[in-house]
């Protein structure tokens, strides 16, 4: 059976949201669509959104897992504001995500799951599919996905449950037809994934193909959307999420210095994948240790740094709380350690799987005493790679612990990453002095104020470090009042001087004007896109995105003074704004969102317009 006619329609970008029960394989479905689109040549950006329960009760609202992907023929920087298409595998998923769907958007639901029991679990009094309004407001396609999947697999020697489990590939196949994607990458992936279970591979492949055929043959699917390749710089690309990119960056930093990487950690969402990724890299002399707690991980990181390795610990906000005392020890010992905080919704346990950027002040000041520490934040998944390398570069050059902040949004979101050539990366110079002549543990480098990194095993240079205040130069214990003030000022100045080694603040857009939008961390995509839109409209809006939160880049004061207004959008209650206002006496306006979700472009755009009206 062939359809009479199919329209072809070209689009420059499309956002799809796949949602279903935690067990429905939505993350996998979304990842496959992403990989296929990336391989095809689109620009892509994703946002996995899943519950913290591993298996919340089946069919419940709490158990809904979603994956949003934005793919395009133009450069994009976010996973998209509002989905053009929604694939809902059960009533709970429909209930949670229907409000996000664009008016007249494509709505594909698995009709088979709309049983009385499931409707009740989702809190529907009546079956929403029977409400004619749904079909009026959206392009509703209620497909019996489970039945069609099982029918297609009639002759496959698997039990019914196993056949039903293939339904996500059926749905994926249908979406592939609608958006004119090739099946080959996913067919190949299935084959590789299920080498040991050829029957399962066959079933999933057939489900995918059958879903695709449904699009081809079913009269109600009238439009075939085309999203062409996006222009990109030449080179090799792969998909990477923030946690993968961070892990690759850290491993790279250690290789650039010819050092082992020691990763001391304790599992915590959403940072755990960094441990998983690094645990696979033993062949690069990456040594991962899973500790009894966060405190132990930080203590270990100090020990490993003292031993002369590249030392890293990674966690999320609650873990940083536990590490704080030991972070202060690292500040006192002036040893290079990188602390990765993949931020999540807080306070306390908060919202483990939801994103937020409310740990900036914790990183800045969450310790006793005067305890300055450099802070870097990554802007998007691929940026995690570069920031991870820079964090180590700063740590060893200035002999200090360094905070690297990412967040759940960029940690789990994936984007194309232009693969570097290792040979092109700048090496990281490390010296361990070996000449005992005149050696003082707290003598300082003139330009960085860093102290010498002398490691155990160096004859004649035995010395003791400790958390008690240090005498300047000798490092001996000292309670001298003058010395204490000098040391506090020295430690502060050491961090301030890092700015000498950083690029100056340079905004994107007009060099002076009505509005500067100042952002940091994972909000980059939405803020950048919103500023681009504003500039297209001819508004005098510039964007400055900060990678360095402590110290701030040189020239920031001057940049801030060149605009009539300053807007600081943050996924917190105004933490960067507090620092900027305090440091530069600028009447910056805070724009805040703390819903566990990233900004949409529209939200920022609207705020920009409001600021200028």
């Amino acid at each position: 059976m062939t359809k009479s006619l199919t329209q072809k329609q070209e689009l420059d970008r499309v956002t799809i949201l796949f949602c279903g029960d935690s067990g429905d394989g939505m993350q996998l479905t979304g990842s496959q669509f992403t990989a296929t689109s990336a391989l095809f040549g689109n620009d892509v950006s994703t946002f996995p959104d899943y519950p913290s329960e591993i298996r919340a009760p089946a069919g419940s609202l709490a158990g809904v897992s979603a994956f949003q992907i934005n793919f395009s023929s133009i450069p994009i920087h976010t996973p998209g504001d509002t989905p053009d298409a929604l694939v809902a595998m059960n009533p709970a998923a429909l209930k949670v995500y229907l409000p996000k769907l664009k008016p007249k958007g494509m709505l594909i639901v698995n009709r088979d799951t709309f049983s009385d029991v499931n409707l009740k679990k989702a809190g529907y009094g009546e079956n929403p599919l029977e409400d004619p309004e749904l079909a009026n407001q959206y392009q509703l396609r209620a497909v019996p996905i489970t039945t069609l999947t099982v029918n297609a697999l009639e002759d496959v020697d698997l039990d019914n449950r196993a056949k039903q489990r293939c339904k996500n590939f059926f749905a994926l196949g249908l979406i592939y037809w609608i958006y004119d994607r090739p099946l080959e990458p996913t067919l190949r992936w299935i084959e590789e994934k299920f080498t040991r279970a050829p029957k399962v591979a066959q079933a999933n492949q057939r489900a995918l193909e059958t879903g695709y055929q449904l699009g081809e043959t079913e009269e109600s699917f009238t439009v075939n959307y085309i999203v062409a390749k996006a222009p990109t710089d030449a080179g090799a690309y792969r998909l990477v999420n923030g946690n993968e990119a961070s892990a690759l960056g850290f491993a790279t930093a250690a290789r650039l210095a010819g050092k082992p990487l020691v990763y001391s950690s304790y599992p915590i969402t959403p940072a755990t994948d960094v441990l998983h990724e690094l645990a696979k890299l033993k062949h690069l002399d990456v040594r991962t240790i899973q500790y009894e707690d966060e405190i132990a991980a930080m203590g270990s990181a100090i020990g490993a740094a003292f031993g002369g390795t590249f030392s890293l610990t990674g966690t999320s906000g609650p873990g940083v709380c536990l590490k704080s005392e030991a972070i202060n020890l690292a500040i006192m010992l002036e040893l290079p350690v990188v602390i990765l905080n993949v931020q999540r919704g807080g306070p306390s346990t908060g919202m483990p799987t939801k994103t937020e950027q409310a740990d900036l002040l914790q990183a800045f000041a969450g310790r006793n005493g005067e305890s300055p520490i450099p802070i870097l934040a990554a802007a998007n998944p691929a940026d995690c790679f570069d920031v991870a390398i820079e964090a180590f570069r700063i740590a060893v050059r200035h002999m200090t612990p360094v905070f690297m902040l990412t967040d759940g949004y960029i940690a789990n979101g994936a984007e194309p990453w232009r693969v570097p050539r290792f040979e092109d990366l700048e090496t990281i110079e490390v010296t361990h002095p070996t000449d005992p002549e005149g050696f003082l543990p707290y003598a300082r480098d003139e330009s960085t104020l860093g102290r010498p990194w002398v490691i155990p095993g160096t004859a004649g240079m035995e010395h003791r470090l400790g958390g008690l205040e240090k005498q300047e130069r000798t490092g001996a214990v000292s309670y001298d009042p003058e010395n204490h003030e000098r040391m506090c000022r020295l430690r502060a100045e050491k961090i301030e001087r890092i700015a000498d080694f950083l690029p100056e603040a340079s905004p994107d857009g007009p060099s002076e004007g009505d509005l500067l939008v100042l952002s940091w961390g994972g909000t980059f995509g939405a803020v950048y896109s919103a500023c681009q839109e504003a500039q297209k409209k001819g508004l005098a809006v510039a964007h400055l995105h900060l990678r360095h939160l402590n110290p701030f880049p040189r020239g920031l004061r001057e940049v801030l003074s060149r605009y009539r207004k300053v807007l600081i959008p943050e996924l917190n209650l105004g933490q960067l704004a507090l620092l900027i206002r305090a440091k530069y006496l600028v009447d910056a306006v805070s724009f805040n969102k703390i819903k566990g979700r990233p900004f949409t472009i529209a939200e920022v755009e609207q705020k920009i317009e409001e600021m200028l009206s």
Binding site: Y237, K282, L329, P456
Partner: protein, 342 residues
């Protein structure tokens, strides 16, 4: 790092730093410091390969007085620094100095896990059954009913038994000695240093200011022989002025017996190498008033060593896979955008 050939015979003086020792006059820590400084030169290891790491407390001043590499860290966390250091640098001899509060109260978790992992470090636990540096509060090893500044009516907490905790953590080397037993301490320290894997040496130590005489029954020349059981591997357990008493097992209960009456062949024979820690557990429970206090090596067995296993995994992975960063970057699905793509 200095090779064995270049090794210069070291003496106690080589391990003494230029810092004035600032424990209270008469503190048991002096005797321990002296024994450690006496013992380390006997190991034939270059001084620069020693690292002494401590937490917080009187005992934790120790690294400042040793002319080795050292870190005076934070309360209870010394085993974590030691583990990280050992994983970074398995070539080093790492010693942890801690007290009963540092290791069994605030640092209890790390103490357990360092022993469980069997990291190749040596832990010296100075047990004076009191908090000294904070001026006299009860510690996790203080006796029930102990009157201190924070327990004026007597402590209402049951004490913890360091040896028992170490057994529970499956430690591969567990020993006890006493600050005043110079030769004995030296022997035990040597054994600990030579053991591969984590070692725990509990040192009964006197706090002359806040808990003076807490171990008097072990150190008083008149009472000591009646109260101390010296453990010797393969030897029957005898003690007393004339070694007239012994330990016999009666069902599941040890008992003190008269050797002349029951015969030496019926005494418990010490076996520090027993795979099962049952005997060590019996011994850990012994103490006054019914039993003598055992000192010496309770347990010394071979077990896989954490830092070695870690390095073996690294070497195995290195043998199987080349350290090609570009291959790593390109793992999974990659695609090429050609030069002329616009």
């Amino acid at each position: 790092m200095t090779g064995a050939a270049e090794y210069r015979a070291l003496t106690r003086k080589d391990f003494a730093s230029d810092q004035a020792v600032r424990w209270c006059p008469g503190c048991g820590d002096y005797a321990i410091l002296a024994q450690v400084q006496q013992t380390l030169p006997k190991l034939g290891i270059p001084r620069e390969n020693f690292v002494v790491i401590s937490g917080i407390g009187c005992s934790s001043r120790f690294p400042y007085y040793m002319d080795t590499f050292g870190i005076h860290s934070i309360h209870g966390r010394a085993p974590t620094l030691a583990t990280g250091l050992k994983c970074a640098r398995p070539d080093l001899q790492v010693w942890v100095v801690t007290g009963d509060g540092d290791s069994l109260a605030i640092g209890g978790n790390h103490f357990l896990h360092a022993l469980r992992r069997n990291v190749d470090i040596n832990i010296l636990l100075f047990n004076n059954r009191i908090y000294g540096l904070t001026k006299g509060q009860y510690s996790p090893t203080s006796e029930l009913g102990k009157r201190t500044k924070s327990s004026p009516q007597g402590s209402i907490e049951n004490p913890i038994n360091p040896i028992g905790v170490a057994i529970g953590a499956e430690a591969s080397f567990i020993a006890r000695t006493v600050d005043m037993f110079q030769q004995h301490m030296s022997d035990v320290l040597l054994r600990a240093a030579e053991h591969r894997g984590a070692t725990l040496v509990e040192i009964a130590q006197n706090c002359v200011i806040f808990n003076d005489g807490t171990w008097r029954h072990l150190t008083d020349p008149n009472a000591k022989l009646e109260n101390v059981l010296y453990l010797e591997h393969g030897k029957p357990m005898r003690f007393g002025q004339k070694r007239q008493k012994g330990i016999r097992l009666n069902g599941f209960r040890p008992e003190v017996v008269d050797v002349a009456r029951v015969g030496e062949e019926n005494l418990l024979v010490h076996d520090e190498k027993a795979e099962e820690p049952t005997l060590a557990h019996f011994l850990s429970r012994m103490g006054p008033p019914e039993f003598p206090t055992p000192v010496g090596v309770f347990r010394s067995i071979d077990k896989p060593i954490h830092d070695q296993l870690l390095l073996e995994q690294v070497r195995e992975a290195q043998a199987q896979k080349s350290p090609d960063m570009n291959a790593l970057y390109r793992q999974g699905q990659t695609w090429e955008v050609p030069q002329d793509a616009t």
